[in-house]
Amino acid sequence: MTQSIAIKIDGVSKRYGRNVLAVDHAKFDIKEGEFFTLLGPSGCGKTTLMRMIAGFETLTEGTIEICGQDMHGVPPNKRPVNMVFQSYAVFPHMTVAENLAYGLQIDKLGKSEIEKRVKDGLEMVRMSQFSDRRPNQLSGGQRQRVALARALIKRPKVLLLDEPMSALDAKLREEMQVELVTLQHEVGITFVVVTHDQQEALSMSDRVAVIEGGVVRQIATPSELYEHPKSKFVADFIGKMTTFPGKHRGDTNAGSKIEIPHFGEFQCREIVTDSPDLVVGIRPEKIEVRRREPEGDVIKMRGKVKNIMYCGGENHVYVDVDGHEIVAYLQNETRGFHEKFQVGDDVWSYWELNDVVVLDH
């Protein structure tokens, strides 16, 4: 599918004062119609980046183009993007309908046109019956819908959402995630979302940019990000991962030879780095634990069960291997084969060679 570019971020940096570098040479494109997420821990610069797209922050260097147009010097009110604020910023002195109409009145639309669009907007977010309410008479979720509708009926090229779910409780959050994705499919507008919640990022996005310390670490689809994280930071930030420091011991026909000190050597099919120092990681759900020594072409380690956490659908088993902690998520099956462990049990933990991820140090 060939998609044109909605936002082109080219060498963008943001410096506060002398020493704080909030965004460091960000360079990537966001495609039209994409659900794009900026993911990272708080203070990583993701919000700054979004605010630069919206026009609230100036760029120290670099350019931002929206739909092929350089945004340098274009004030926020002249940009073809709209934003849903973290606090929603639904004007408290206006009714819901007035809030929606506020942005349209500037476009010099006819009164009936505004009314129609406000009505459609309210229907879109299923808020029609609240049109005369004041924001302080609404719940957080309802306010978010108002903010969303208010931005969407401006029909922006890109919708920016700053931590859209942070003010909602867990259950509502899940509902809204589904709704947001559905909505995005309906309207076909590019969504850019800022979040620190990796679960949210994975479940909603087409692509995710992981940012750390102002630097974009990796941009990929959710599954790629999960299965093939490029760095230890990304791997750790997205899901849980057991890691070992490793050494690159040369290549053979079968692949690269990698040594994990104290645990031995194994073959790895592809290698991602030239550096001799590596990190070898393995996702917990890929690890199997049993009492008998496993057979076949697997990586196996002998250890002691240190801790078991019951988590409903699965058990998290912490195995101590010579002072190294390995975490395994075991399905909590009630049918078929399963073993029950107790703390202190001697066990083998093992995993397929294919499941190993080799990361940048």
Binding site: T58, L59, H72
Partner: protein, 281 residues
């Protein structure tokens, strides 16, 4: 270390939308406002160096009015009286106003609306009316006029200023702080001293500054409530209208400006310290 490329050079400088102080319109507003506020002060300071008995025409530079002012016992006594009244009134009005502000903020009680409006009346009433009422009242109950009656009256009209500010500040305090203190075993009094008061501090300081300001410059009420030996600086100034204001008054005012600037600066430093503490919390 990455060096920044000069890509941006050549492009116009962009101002962030809410960085209003960087906008030339707002800079102009600040300039015009400050000019407006300070031009008269500059004029009066300039005339304090004017070698003429009156503040009309420039006749050359002199320091003699500063000398005269410092030697003018009457003027110095008036300044001392003013400062004494203002400091005492500020002290007590700050305590009482803080109490009132807290009571109005914390409690629900019958007739609160009228009480609330009543507590603000001293600001709203014409000063002459309040002055005359106090004069008549003190005469009626036979309290001799003097610094005591002046101070008592100043306290009365300073209380609302403090109460308004403290109340606003008190509204922003999280009640959980006090609850936590009780939970940790602190007594009411200890909680008040160690928890409530430090959090109220910026409001109390601001209220005290306001009270000091209005007390220091009050003429009408001071006049009607004063007796022998209680002439204050504003009374001195107003009495001079009959024979035109002399540069000595300008010199005294200039010294007062310098003095009060120092007090304000100290206040600001204190305030900055407390707010630093706030942000640390």
């Amino acid at each position: 270390m990455r060096t920044f490329s000069s890509k941006r050079i050549g492009k116009s400088k962009v101002i962030e939308p809410l960085a209003y102080t960087k906008r030339s319109v707002i800079k102009l507003v600040i300039f015009v406002n400050l000019l407006f506020l300070y031009l008269p002060l500059l004029v009066l300071i300039a005339f304090s160096f004017n070698d003429s008995k009156r503040n009309i025409v420039w006749r050359g530079f002199t320091f003699k009015y500063y000398e005269k002012t410092l030697k003018n016992d009457q003027l110095m006594e008036a300044l001392t009286n003013s400062l004494q009244v203002a400091l005492l009134a500020t002290f007590f009005a700050t305590i009482l106003g803080t109490m009132l502000g807290l009571a109005l903020q914390r409690f629900r009680f019958p007739g609160k609306g009228p009480v609330d409006a009543w507590a603000h009346m001293p600001i709203m009433i014409p000063e002459v009316c309040m002055g005359v009422s106090l004069l008549a009242f003190f005469a009626l109950v036979k309290i001799p006029l003097g610094l005591f009656t002046i101070t008592a009256s100043h306290i009365a009209f300073c209380i609302p200023f403090v109460a308004i500010v403290v109340r606003a500040r008190a509204a922003t305090i999280d009640p959980a702080m006090e609850e936590a203190s009780y939970d940790l075993g602190a007594s009411r009094i200890m909680t008040f001293w160690r928890i409530t008061l430090p959090q109220l501090a910026p409001g109390i300081i601001a209220g005290a500054l306001l009270a000091f300001t209005v007390s220091l410059d009050d003429f009408v009420i001071t006049f009607f409530t004063g007796g022998p030996g209680s002439t204050t600086f504003p009374i001195q100034v107003y009495s001079m209208i009959k024979f035109s204001v002399t540069p000595e008054i300008n010199a005294a005012s200039t010294m007062l400006i310098v003095l009060t600037s120092i007090v304000i600066a100290v206040g600001l430093v204190l305030h900055a310290k407390t707010s630093e503490k706030d942000s640390e919390l």
